[in-house]
């Protein structure tokens, strides 16, 4: 099975909690015509991590690195959510039963339905279980 096509490259950017950091990230990507498809900000006291799905991750990586940002690639998966309450719980249960830990997740509104982005500790297992459960995984080609 070609599970790899469901592995999506997210870029993660370390950011100090300083005014204007997010704007500089957006501006840098804009200059390279890189589109941000989804993003989230995780904050701790004093610093944060900006996570983004973009259409050209390599280009984004290079540009942000050259601007002095600390950037890393992270493999994530994207699950199309059923448009009904309890969708997130179902996914969490499927993964939990399989012993896969969700390290973090965030959602965005896709064209048809809400999409859940997940970072998990065992990505191959997660892909397999989610597919078996009947939920829809989005392919990498949709993003980039």
């Amino acid at each position: 099975m070609d599970a790899q096509k469901f592995v999506i490259r997210q870029i993660s950017i370390f950011s100090e909690n300083r005014p204007g950091r997010l704007a500089s990230i957006a501006q840098a990507l804009g200059e390279e015509n890189v589109n941000i498809l989804a993003f989230s900000i995780a904050e701790a006291n004093g610093f944060g991590v900006v996570r983004a799905l973009v259409d050209h991750p390599e280009k984004a990586y290079e540009k942000l690195t050259s601007c002095g940002f600390n950037v890393a690639f992270t493999d994530v998966i994207a699950v199309q959510m059923k448009d009904k309450p309890g969708g997130l719980f179902e996914i969490a249960k499927v993964l939990g039963d399989a012993g896969v830990n969700i390290e973090y997740s965030y959602a965005y509104s896709g064209k048809k339905a809400a999409v859940l982005i997940l970072r998990v500790d065992h990505i191959d297992d997660a892909i397999e279980k989610i597919q078996k459960s009947g939920a829809t995984l989005l392919e990498r080609s949709i993003f980039h």
Partner: protein, 433 residues
């Protein structure tokens, strides 16, 4: 390990202290009677030579500072006439006005004896070829080491500083077994030798480095020893004390300060009270045998601690640990003395963060808050907040262990901290005291 002068070097602590007391007493009487400068100082402090009744009474005596030498430029506080002087050395000083130190023949002898003991304690002697790559001239390093090395019967190769390729050729051709220079110059020699295709380990007889005149760390010692295949020893001194004076022994556990030559105190720079052995404070030295320019309770400004335990080498004289900072850099956080260099050492052991840091001190209510900003290394960036928080608490923990003060750590982007030396850029003190 053999001694240059076993009678003194292995004398019981009790006898040493008796000797120190006698020397101190006669020094104070002499200065009170013959030196207008010291006489005035002691009057001002309301202390008379008769008040010195035991060794610990040294703390009744007034301090001396670098500025006393500057203010009395060039020779106003010398206690010997020019006819009695056999040498001058001059240090330029960072603040502009130079300071002059002067020596009688006895002063040079004391200085040389001090070094002869030190060099012998690290196993050097007849048959050794000692390359002196400290500067010769107004600086005390070159000539001081030169006379010390000759005194123990070693052959001196007086290369001074510079022309590094020639230094390396001579080191090989004349079989230098030891080199005396600054640690950074030795690193430079190592690099130039590599470029010349000379392996110091296998192509030279070099086995010993006597390194000083600038601060260095144990990390540098390990690096130098492994890389060049030598044993590297710390040497300490300033021109006000004569010059390079005290070296580590073969144990490499701090330099021995010869009690018959110098009385060393470690004091809290703020309260000026003496500290216990092992506690870090400002080195304050009284040179017990000096004719031309006596120094009493001279506040050197260097920070370290003292050990009074008998050394494994058998010598009874106290040892001073490697210098870890300057008083000028000291911060007082919640009543505890903190030196930026301690943070530097703590960060060295943490691969996840860089070596650059910035300290921000603020006062919230009655308490000082100290924030240390460090750069997260590129390789250590994880996009999991919990990993980053773990790195942060690791850094906080290490710094707290080093300083005994709780600090908050802020992880910042790599390359974002200013790359400058010196307190002004590394420490931002927002307290209005």
């Amino acid at each position: 390990m053999r001694c240059w002068d076993p009678r003194i070097e292995e004398m019981s602590k009790e006898d040493l202290q008796k000797m120190q007391y006698k020397l101190l007493k006669s020094l104070v009487y002499r200065l009170y009677s013959f030196s207008p400068f010291y006489h005035d100082r002691m009057k001002k402090q309301n202390v008379h030579p008769d008040d010195i009744r035991e060794l610990s009474d040294v703390k009744k005596l007034p301090f001396m500072f670098k500025r006393d030498l500057r203010d009395n430029y060039p020779d106003k506080i010398f206690t010997a006439s020019q006819e009695e002087l056999v040498r001058y050395h001059v240090s330029s000083g960072t603040t502009g006005k130079p300071t002059v130190v002067a020596y009688t023949q006895n002063d040079l002898n004391t200085w040389t004896t001090s070094l002869a003991r030190g060099l012998t304690s690290i196993g050097l002697g007849r048959g050794d070829v000692i390359q002196v790559s400290y500067g010769y001239g107004l600086f005390t390093g070159g000539l001081g080491m030169h006379y010390g090395a000759e005194r123990i019967g070693a052959t001196v190769l007086p290369t001074s500083v510079g022309n590094t390729e020639r230094q390396i050729e001579l080191m090989q051709d004349l079989g230098a077994t030891a080199i005396a220079c600054t640690p950074s110059y030795l690193l430079h020699i190592g690099e130039v030798a590599e470029k010349m295709g000379v392996n110091i380990k296998t192509d030279t007889k070099l086995r010993t480095g006597i390194l000083g005149a600038e601060p260095w760390t144990d990390g540098m010692r390990i690096r130098i020893q492994d890389w060049l295949g030598i044993r590297a020893y710390d040497i300490y001194g300033t021109s006000e004390l004569s010059g390079p004076m005290f070296t580590e022994c073969a144990e490499q556990k701090g330099f021995h300060v010869w009690s018959d030559i110098a009385l060393v105190e470690v004091i809290d720079p703020k309260t000026e009270e003496p500290l216990e052995p092992g506690e870090k404070g400002e080195l304050t030295i009284t040179i017990l045998q000096k004719e031309a320019l006596p120094m009493i309770r001279y506040r050197i400004g260097d920070i370290s601690s003292m050990t009074d335990e008998v050394c494994a080498c058998g010598r009874t004289h106290p040892r001073i640990q490697r210098i870890t900072g300057r008083v000028d850099d000291m911060l007082i956080i919640r009543g505890i003395n903190v030196f930026p260099s301690q943070i530097e050492y703590a960060l060295m052991g943490i691969p996840e963060v860089g070596q650059h840091f910035q300290i921000v001190v603020e006062r919230t209510g009655a308490l000082d808050d100290m924030l240390v900003r460090v750069e997260l290394n590129k390789e250590s960036f994880s996009d999991k907040i919990t990993d980053l928080m773990q790195i942060r608490s690791k850094v906080e923990h290490r710094i707290k262990n080093a300083l005994n003060v709780a600090v908050a750590v802020e992880l910042v982007e790599p390359g974002s901290l200013p790359r400058f030396e010196g307190k002004s850029k590394k420490v931002i003190d927002k307290r209005s005291l």
